[in-house]
Amino acid sequence: MSDDDRRRLSPEGASRRKFLRTVVAGAAGAAGVGAAVSGEGVDWEALLQKNFREMSREELDAVLRRLEKKYSKRYGKDVKVSATGPLEGVVYGYGLDVSRCIGCRKCVYACVDENNQSRDPQIQWIRVLEFERERVERGFVMEDGNPYYDHEQVPAPGKVYLPVSCQHCEDSPCTAVCPTGATWTEPDGIVVIDYDWCIGCRYCMAACPYGARKFNWGDPSVPDADINPNMHLLGNRPRSRGVVEKCSFCIQRVRDGQYPACLEACPVGARKFGNLLDPNSEIRYLLENKRTFVLRAELDTRPKFFYFWGTA
């Protein structure tokens, strides 16, 4: 190698250059990527925000205030974002009366409105499956359900309807596989997601046996006028692109004692909700007096969503 050649060389070697390139790109990328990916411009506080479980009270309050300001400005409404904690002595359970559900999908759209789900790309946390009646009564698998029914009137003759959403399993496979600890089970039994911590790897979606989790493939959009300004950080606050979301049992409502939105929307009263630890609750009554079943019982996920036959 001549001296000339040596003088023309760059000081880094091939492998070292490659390595450095990656590092520099990575560092410079973080800010740019954060800006590009979230579609929101570089928000350093958001970029460096801690996991919900690790933030101090002050940090958490700062996050809530920042989000309130941001969303109020963005949607032109007086937005409140809370991080209300669980109630003591409460574990939530949900009941669904299969003999009553008529498949009208009012719950689906009430949920969409209450929880600020994206209209385009469309996200719906609840999916109503239509089955042949005999199938359900003699043993069925979820894969037999059809969510795309579109009749003039429901219930269609000979059909049975099963709405499916997050089952808030006691032994949830999703919380076990999340690599960053972005999803966990709260003391009151709600399986929650920290939307500011999720990296969007979608391992939880592969793990969920109920197809309950939905991904923000694109930028979610909700018309400003339709935004529900009463938000919970782990519930219905607007999500960003690239994170997983799902039913949160209307955490922003139930932790203040309210019924979930889907329950109130149901015209036939097929949905039941309450505290599994309270022996006088509606949910306990139906568990003790009705024939109940859970989906995919053989997987031993122990869902807290109980389907039952209201007719004696």
């Binding site: 894969e143 004692g257 007096n289």
Partner: protein
């Protein structure tokens, strides 16, 4: 660049086993270290919250009957004798569908007190308490309805809540729920697209039936 031709010396062997054992030990140590939070653990600083004792559920007052049908005495003259034979009405109320098991009008409507209903034994019941009639036959439903498992409730699962009288959902003359038009089905995943991507046409169906495009 070929390895040392003298073979693997005893020293190297010892070192090798040490390194592999160390790696193994490291894995064991890592395995026994819990992540700072297990998947069933949340914040440690949640305040202990309870809600105040809840009031009893309230039976929501039924919407008033329209003045075209109530009060009944506007048309029915109680001074006249009432024909109590079971029949299909032809002069008035003929548009009313009556399909409630074996019942006919005077099973529930009191012939002598037209603005009131009657139980099977003749006891009079106000229109606002019509649910008392239903529970004569639908006893199990009464228990479920009181417990909140039958029928719609709104409000608070722990707090003020309202339940509804039977007639709010069930027309007593033809009780089965009328079918409704369902809200739209979800979009097929293949239709959810981005404006600028080169999307291949993807269709999807379910096991029960392929999509018809």
């Amino acid at each position: 660049m070929t390895p040392n031709d003298e073979g693997i010396s005893g020293r190297v062997q010892a070192l090798t086993y040490t390194v592999i054992a160390a790696a193994f030990a490291l894995v064991l140590v890592l395995f026994s270290v819990e992540c700072p939070h297990s998947r069933r653990e949340s914040r440690s600083d949640y305040a202990r919250r309870t809600l105040p004792p809840e009031p009893a559920p309230v039976l929501r007052p039924s919407p008033p009957l329209s003045d075209t049908v109530f009060p009944c005495i506007d048309c029915h003259d109680v001074s006249e004798a009432v024909d109590q034979t079971r029949r299909v009405l032809t002069d008035d109320h003929e548009t009313l569908t009556l399909a409630h098991g074996d019942l006919w009008c005077l099973s529930c409507h009191s012939p002598a007190h037209r603005d009131q209903l009657q139980l099977a034994d003749g006891t009079l019941v106000e229109m606002t308490e019509s649910w008392k009639l239903c529970t004569q036959c639908h006893g199990k439903k009464l228990a479920d309805w009181r417990a909140g498992v039958h029928g719609k409730r709104t409000g608070f699962w722990w707090g003020p809540k309202e339940y509804r009288a039977c007639v709010e959902c069930h027309n007593p003359h033809a009780p089965p729920f009328k079918p409704l038009k369902p809200l739209p089905p979800p979009m097929r995943p293949g239709r959810i697209g981005a404006p600028m991507s080169a999307q291949a046409a993807t269709t999807s169906g379910t096991l029960e039936g392929a999509e018809s495009e």
